[in-house]
Amino acid sequence: MIEKLDITLIVNGRERHARVEPRRLLADVLRHELGLKGTHIGCEHGVCGACTVLLDGRSARSCLHFAVAVDGAEITTVEGLGGGDELTPIQQAFHRNHALQCGYCTPGMLVTVQEFLAREPDPDDAAIRRALSNNICRCTGYANIVAAVREAARALREAGT
């Protein structure tokens, strides 16, 4: 029997502890050990992007990380993007542009866009599409997601954040 290991993660600003087998995927630990079920699992081989979280500030596939291997890291999940009751500007733009249907890809999309707009505040459509191309959405046909990102970028620039 392989021993479980104690790990500490800073998740959405809070220090969280877990005792897990080395093989437990970060996605499963976030969802089932820490109860953060907003991070979705869509393929478990790193293609669909539904499980994307921020890992030490950069986007990462939580299905391609063992929780023990990121012991000590800072993680931001979809639950940690928002500021309380208000939706974030990116979330608001998704809502206003009907950029989600079933919503299963949405948490991964939001995290991806969060990182993208922080790095590229004034992207053109081609850059937006490239940034989204690592996340599969099977419902929307992407057009409204692209529109949402465009609008969110503008809102964030105007807010000066």
Partner: protein, 289 residues
């Protein structure tokens, strides 16, 4: 789709890594970014008894500029190298190739050396390493050795790295003089999952004669490979129509592409020529990476 059990070690220094490798070598795998390894583990196509993470070894996190090489340590993420000022200035081909790897979230975690050590026949970094005459700096219990990229890749997912060794760093050649390069690939989608790809590097003298040609391809065999005939055809002459045609012909004959669900060998053979033709024309126009 959940990985099989394994033991886990994450030493803090290189000595610890090597100790663990020496102890568990055959049954262990090094975990760097995990972007290639973990999918295989989730699919249970790979079931190592132990994973040895190099992620705590800060000494492997460096980009050094040597006289004629850029040296990238084993923990350097692809995105980190892609964005690195020295890499962009001294080795634009590498940055260009890395931009084709997976998506941002893969590149944020995957390492340059991990991708090379994995030896994926359709991975972009191996082709870049070949085109850049990389030195693969391998370390093991008996010390260090350096293997040229041209001798490093043995087959699909197979390299010269022994079970108790690891790739400590890759040292790619710095751009010199009038050097132009580009990375091109095609797949069945707009971006990602290459069917075929090309890393191309040419050096010109003042008269416009090609003095060095590196043509490295993916989708051309069971590893990334250099196309010697094409390189010879290009070297020592101007980059004119005849040279391009000759090189392209080599790119279509000197390859042994696989057939799979995405493309048959005939298509790959054809588009490898197309890519080389496009790449050479681009460099002829001076429109490089």
């Amino acid at each position: 789709m959940k990985p099989a059990p394994f033991a886990f070690a994450q030493p803090d220094d290189l000595a610890g890594l090597l100790l663990a490798l020496g102890e568990h070598g055959e049954d262990a795998r090094i975990l760097a970014g995990g972007q290639s390894l973990v999918p295989l583990m989730n699919l249970r196509m790979v079931q190592p008894a132990m994973l040895i993470s190099l992620n705590r070894v800060d000494a492997l996190d460096f980009v050094d500029v040597e006289d004629d090489r850029i040296v990238i340590g084993a923990r350097v993420r692809q995105a980190q190298a892609e964005e690195d000022e020295a890499v962009r200035r001294h080795c634009p081909l590498l940055a260009d190739a890395l931009s084709f790897v997976g998506g941002q979230s893969n590149r944020n975690r995957g390492t340059v050396c991990g991708s090379l050590a994995h030896g994926d026949p359709l991975g972009e970094p191996p082709a870049a390493a070949l085109a850049l005459d990389a030195e693969m700096r391998i370390v093991g219990p008996h010390g260090r050795r350096t293997v040229p990229a041209s001798q490093f890749f043995l087959g699909a997912l197979e390299t010269v790295i022994a079970a108790d060794e690891m790739l400590e760093a890759v040292a790619v050649e710095r751009t010199r003089g009038d050097e132009r390069s580009c990375f091109l690939e095609v797949g069945n989608r707009a971006h990602g999952f290459a069917v075929a790809g090309l890393a191309l590097r040419l050096r010109f003298d003042a008269a416009g004669t090609v003095t060095l040609a590196r043509v490295a391809m993916i989708g051309a065999g069971d590893t990334a490979r250099r196309i010697a005939g094409a390189e010879t055809a290009l070297t020592g002459r101007a980059l004119d129509e005849a040279a391009i045609a000759e090189a392209v012909a080599h790119a279509r004959t000197e390859v042994d592409p696989p057939s799979d669900v995405h493309a048959d060998a005939g298509h790959r053979r054809h588009v490898l020529g197309v890519l080389l033709d496009r790449g050479l024309r681009r460099l002829a126009e001076g429109d490089d990476a």
